[in-house]
Amino acid sequence: MAILLAKGTKEIVIIDVADDTGSISDISILSPTYDFITDANVFIYTAAVATADGMQVSCLLDTSASGPSGLLAVGHYRLFIRFTIGTELPRLGPVDVFIRDTNS
């Protein structure tokens, strides 16, 4: 799974999750969080609180100057989501996120 973001954008990345057992239908009550990491393993977002609607998890990625690490450089990043189910803590990903500069 990959997604392309323009440099300087601020977007919500929506991740659809499936539960093979069908026993989970709402992740919003499972404390979903997300990590957004560079290739050099620098965490842009660490366990940031995600929102969820049913099995859709929404992660806000601010790559602009107002973001947590300022204007992000073009390149490859990784996005992980996780949530808590009892003693389980599934971490799903990575979702490959590519930031590109569309002005050059």
Partner: protein
């Protein structure tokens, strides 16, 4: 008859002791996991850069790009400006009652869904294209959001006095 002998009799394949078994832990495949990511999409909540602009005659228009804000000023003011963007869909400002219209009360901007034409009404020295809705907007700001691989056509008729400062970002 024992259970083992019964299965042997009906042809159940028994493990061949001569076959070497792998001692490594099998790598977990994603399709074996209980939870899987099945789809990823994005929804613009902030400015997105516009890559290129030209006027109605195909002449290149000046695009003052601001990667940090995603706000692009298109100048000089031409009779129409075509903006080729990496984004494809224009989203109405969520604060607008009439979907498809940008602008709050004066509705200076409208969007024709069929041909993806955006028509700006007003007279300005400069257009700025906000490529997404953004929070904290005021009633005099407008914004559009676009997705990838379509063309937008920006044009104006220059007849309305439109007191918006479109160069303003957030």
């Amino acid at each position: 008859m024992s259970v083992v002998k019964r299965f042997q009799k009906i042809g159940v394949v028994q493990p061949d002791p001569k076959v070497e078994r792998s001692t490594t832990t099998p790598q977990t495949r994603s399709d074996e996991q209980r939870f899987q990511i099945v789809n990823v999409t994005s929804r613009a909540v902030g400015p997105q850069p516009i890559s290129k602009a030209s006027d109605s005659a195909g002449r290149g228009a000046v695009v003052e790009a601001s990667p940090s804000t995603g706000i692009h000023s298109v100048s000089p003011l031409a009779s129409s400006v075509t903006v080729t963007s990496l984004v494809t869909k224009v989203l109405a400002d969520p604060g607008i009652a009439n979907p498809g219209w940008g602008g709050i009360s004066v509705a200076p901007l409208y969007w024709l869904d069929t041909d993806h034409e955006i028509r700006l009404l007003g007279s300005h020295n400069k257009w700025s294209v906000f490529t997404s809705p953004y929070s904290g907007r005021t009633g005099t700001k407008w914004s559009i959001a676009v997705l990838r691989q379509r063309k937008m056509r920006l044009s104006h008729n220059g007849t309305l006095a439109w007191p918006l400062n479109l160069s303003q970002g957030r």
